[in-house]
Symmetry: C2
Subunit: 438 residues, 2 copies
Amino acid sequence: MRPDAREVGGPVRVAVLGAGVVGSQVVRLLLEHGNELAARIGAPLELAGVAVRRPNRHPDVPAALLTTDAAALVARPDVDVVVEVIGGLEPTRELLLTALRRGAAVVTANKALLAEHGPELYEAADAAGADLYFEAAVAGAIPLIRPIRESLAGDRISRIMGIVNGTTNFILSAMSQQGVGYGEALAEATRLGYAEADPTADVDGFDAAAKAAILASIGFHTRVGADQVHREGIAGVTAADIRAAREIGCVVKLLAICERVSVGGGEAVSARVHPVMLPVAHPLAGVDGAYNAVYVEAESAGRLMFYGPGAGGAPTASAVLGDLVAVARNRLVGGRGPGESAHADLPVQPMGEVPARYHVSLDVDDRSGVLAAVAGAFAAAGVSISDVRQMGRGTDAQLVAVTHTAPDAVLATTVAQLGELPAVHRVTSVMRVMGELR
Amino acid sequence: MRPDAREVGGPVRVAVLGAGVVGSQVVRLLLEHGNELAARIGAPLELAGVAVRRPNRHPDVPAALLTTDAAALVARPDVDVVVEVIGGLEPTRELLLTALRRGAAVVTANKALLAEHGPELYEAADAAGADLYFEAAVAGAIPLIRPIRESLAGDRISRIMGIVNGTTNFILSAMSQQGVGYGEALAEATRLGYAEADPTADVDGFDAAAKAAILASIGFHTRVGADQVHREGIAGVTAADIRAAREIGCVVKLLAICERVSVGGGEAVSARVHPVMLPVAHPLAGVDGAYNAVYVEAESAGRLMFYGPGAGGAPTASAVLGDLVAVARNRLVGGRGPGESAHADLPVQPMGEVPARYHVSLDVDDRSGVLAAVAGAFAAAGVSISDVRQMGRGTDAQLVAVTHTAPDAVLATTVAQLGELPAVHRVTSVMRVMGELR
């Protein structure tokens, strides 16, 4: 007997909610690779139904499996696992709660739902002893949730930092490499299918913030909701910012940053999404286009990096199917994967208190005393300056300063005050800086 | 009730075999982070004993826990999990079989044992329904086993390729960056503690081959033993090879390469370890020093990369503890992690049939007809040449050729024949080339 046949049983019956970009790939792979998956699980996976809105639009799905009644499908007692790839908050939340409450396992790619209603879903799963898996919710095909929840479960993670939104990374890469402005780069991303018709969720950082909430929650064993993640998108990033970054040896990236921080004798979690200037030598600086990459730093493991395609139908379906194999195996052996781990219960640090470094470019009068006035404004706020350059251009000049670390709110206030100085014509670029500048 | 408290039970009792570089870190972390680990597991981990050879050398381990009788420790009925970090084949194999046969879970970092006796261990684990986890056996702290066994369980992996031995990577990096020869670089690696007093396992590729066997087995659902992995080390890599690589825009790396290949209507697995010339633009080319990095290509997921510290006490202990948390959780909920998956049962392709490209440097007579003779030898063997350069140096010349793909055995024979040509003084460098040259 081959060892893989040891737990023959089943079949494990699977309902799929949604047959869009990801769902159609999930269904295709289930149908095409059924034998292989069965061998790995020890029992066949059987497709019990596929819930869609318009059945006539899915010629690739066997007609007998299609249904428009998702609520009835998740309630069917013969369905063991519900795969959710429709997205959205409602009715998705209600559908998954129904499935979990009757003990069905759920595999979802829905980052927004998890970031918004994660605790409620976890509690339903825990109460019923059901599995809730969501590898596909963050960074597409890149194994990240499982490594953080399981591989690093014996370690103390100190930081998770990554490029987790391919649309914004594509736009920023295009602005940097082709010298185009934000509008033009967004238009190209839309034309090529990297940005949706309404790009708000991506460009305003909502998508990345939901992922940051999930990563911070599992990484720091603490409930962090999307509303606790400080969020700034890329719509305000200008060609001037990109040039300013290049002048100090940096590129502009939108990062999701989750950190364990020390505050007044205790610990807290910081979770935020915002553009940063990152030195070109940093490994994340070289991640271009629609790729994702995430750095994880842990006390014992050191620095780890995970890299790969962060979106797309097939890559996301790969992550979904990995979870599906796992929950099917668990079901057969009577086990269960990890549930919510929120024992640390750390407070979330307000953004204003987060230590940051700012890069500031100012258009100023080219006359004596201006540098003193600017330096004085920083000094008055208690912010020390790491680098400053002033370049005369006839009657006016450009002044560029990079600060040392100070609380974010102090820096923001100081920059606002700089804009009010009579000698300052315009604040041309303000952005946080990470990593060591050369 | 916090969700993490849902499965309070236990304690889970852990025996550790070995308290060396890794074992001492495992014991330290278990003692220091006990509460945190308990919260994540849902039950306390209790250290039942630590087996060592010389108890007086371990002042950091509570004396009451130390024992020299490993056989008695693994046989104790109250021990739930055996963590093995002593290495070696015997008596380790017998100790772990004893533990598994009585239903204890095993967490091991022993790549040689798994590559040599994996099937026997798996069978004992399967028969008893026990867990066998080994994240630490390949690439230290980098989550790689779990992503391949679990995250990608729904996908079809086509290739796993990586730098999985830090010692040889350190030596090759030093040769490349400091221009020193192999002997000098090895001496430095030994002095800095990156190489052991007897470096054979690393420099001759045994360590990487064991890891390749493990990766090929789990990646392709096929039993691949260490003896089925073609193995070439770095002892033969010369300063001339490094220079020759640089001249074609490459660096020399020792890679473990596992591929799914098509052969005569079916599929096979290729597993091999050998130095290659890799274009500097390849992401693995930039992985320097003692770091590890592994590329995984899968049908749906696309290209993924995992990067991090590949060895060291604390990183390896992190991987061991992650497994320990997993098997403890499984034990509490009555579940079990994945067992052996060998359903594909593919043949292993002999090295001679593996398609390869060769870079060859020859010292030749600087006279007409030499290029024709060399080109003729390639042509006679049916090997087509991609690039060829001849540089005169007075009475003799250097001839450099890069071939197109041909079966490895054909290339090896051809190179041997080249060395016999009257016009060829010496074959100065022969190495396989991967990736696209510019």
